[in-house]
């Protein structure tokens, strides 16, 4: 049995040290997921507490087939979406996603004309509609497929794809001013010329 398996086993048995160790090792990543999806720190703090309780409640079902962090990540996403649904945020998301006419017509010039820019992707994401934001985060950041997103949000895969397209287009406009930094070599993780 590896050290990590031993820690998980001890955590299942209710050993506070083991539970705390799992929390300490994974909270920076798991809580980041919660914060991204909630978009609001106070709400995220409440949800994170629920998420961790759920993770530890489900611990006996963890079989070690994947990394603990990967397994916990799924629970964090599910639980956060449930919590958001409870505060009636997802209700609006689902309407937005299913009914494209509910969204204002896209105007490529509107954001720049209004002078709306974002200093970071995190800031830019907050300016998306709730539907587009959730789909973008789940697909592009958390790695969910459109089919999985459709199941999670109770929407069609087409709706998910459509929202992702709109989200990416808007983000590119909101972050346009960063293009120069990229062409000058700032933040070029992939070395891709812009």
């Amino acid at each position: 049995m590896t050290t990590h398996q031993t820690i998980v086993q001890r955590a299942v048995e209710g050993d506070e040290r083991a539970l705390r160790q799992l929390w300490m090792e994974n909270a920076p990543h798991i809580d980041a997921v919660v914060l991204r999806l909630c978009g609001d720190r106070d709400l995220a703090a409440d949800v994170a507490q629920e998420v961790w309780i759920q993770i530890f409640r489900a611990l006996p079902s963890y079989r070690g087939d994947s990394q603990f962090g990967t397994w916990a990540h799924r629970i964090a996403v599910n639980r956060t979406l449930n919590a958001l649904r409870k505060v009636r945020r997802i209700a609006k998301v689902e309407i937005d996603v299913e009914d494209d006419t509910a969204t204002a017509p896209e105007n490529p010039e509107s954001d720049t004309e209004r002078g709306i820019v974002a200093e970071s992707i995190d800031q830019a994401v907050r300016q998306l509609s709730p539907g587009a934001r959730t789909v973008f985060l789940l697909h592009d950041v958390e790695g969910y497929t459109h089919e999985e997103i459709a199941r999670e949000l109770g929407i069609t895969t087409g709706g998910s794809k459509s929202q992702l397209f709109k989200a990416r287009a808007k983000l590119r406009r909101l972050l346009a001013h960063l293009a120069e930094g990229f062409s000058a070599g700032v933040g070029q993780e992939h070395g891709t010329p812009i």
């Binding site: 990543h29 994170a48 993780e189």
Partner: protein, 227 residues
């Protein structure tokens, strides 16, 4: 002169997303509040924690030099001293509060009042309780005050820091773990005994305070790898 781009390229956006995927944040929750919830859920078993504490030490890196017979003996001496001191405090407190056979009998009478103590008033040590709920409220208030005071004293400890000997705190923690385990075992036999419950809560509060002090006492650059 080239006009500024009106859109970020897809590749640049992907690069930003990759960065976002690896972003971490400071934990949004505190272990203290999370562990309280986990205890309420029954997901933390204190007996398990206490049992394991007897097998493992409170480890910090780098390890403070010093080992052998003297250190082992000193550790156990300090551990026993810590336990004895806490027991002594309890005895003194007990005397101060006129804990005696009369007190225990009165307390048992009050607790065994199956009518819910409506309309029953019991005077103990100069303090009158009109009902069980009244007594519980008083107990809860006292516990909260005690825990806050302990936390305050730990946070504002201006006494001489024993930075060279964090072992003292580790020994105190080990002693407190033993006390917690012992009081918890006793509570299982007598779950409604207020004295035992008070002991358990006091030991838990002292343990949290000592953990804070241990964190402060460790050399700069050291991290607690277990607790």
């Amino acid at each position: 002169m080239a006009l500024p781009s009106k859109e970020l390229s897809e590749q640049a956006l992907d690069a930003l997303i990759t960065r976002e995927q690896t972003r971490v944040v400071a934990p949004l929750t505190e272990w203290r509040s999370l562990s309280m919830s986990l205890r309420q859920e029954g997901l933390i078993h204190d007996a398990s924690t206490a049992r394991q504490s007897a097998q493992r030490e409170y480890v910090a890196e780098p390890v403070v030099p010093g080992s052998g017979w003297f250190r082992t003996t000193a550790r156990w001496t300090m551990r026993l001293a810590a336990s004895a001191a806490l027991v002594g405090v309890g005895i003194v407190a007990g005397r101060g509060m006129t804990f005696g056979q009369d007190f225990i009998t009165q307390m048992q009478l009050a607790i065994s009042d199956s009518t819910g103590s409506h309309g029953t008033s019991v005077r103990i040590g100069g303090k009158e309780f009109s009902s069980k709920a009244d007594a519980r409220r008083t107990l809860l208030r006292a516990q909260t005050d005690y825990q806050r005071a302990a936390a305050f004293l730990a946070a504002t400890d201006t006494g001489p820091r024993i930075t060279a000997e964090p072992d003292l705190y580790r020994d105190r923690l080990a002693g407190l773990d033993e006390m917690t385990a012992a009081s918890l075992a006793a509570i299982k036999d007598a779950p409604r005994d207020p004295l035992l419950n008070q002991y358990y809560l006091s030991a838990s509060a002292a343990r949290e305070a000592t953990l804070q002090q241990l964190g402060n006492a460790l050399p700069v650059g050291s991290t607690m790898t277990s607790f």
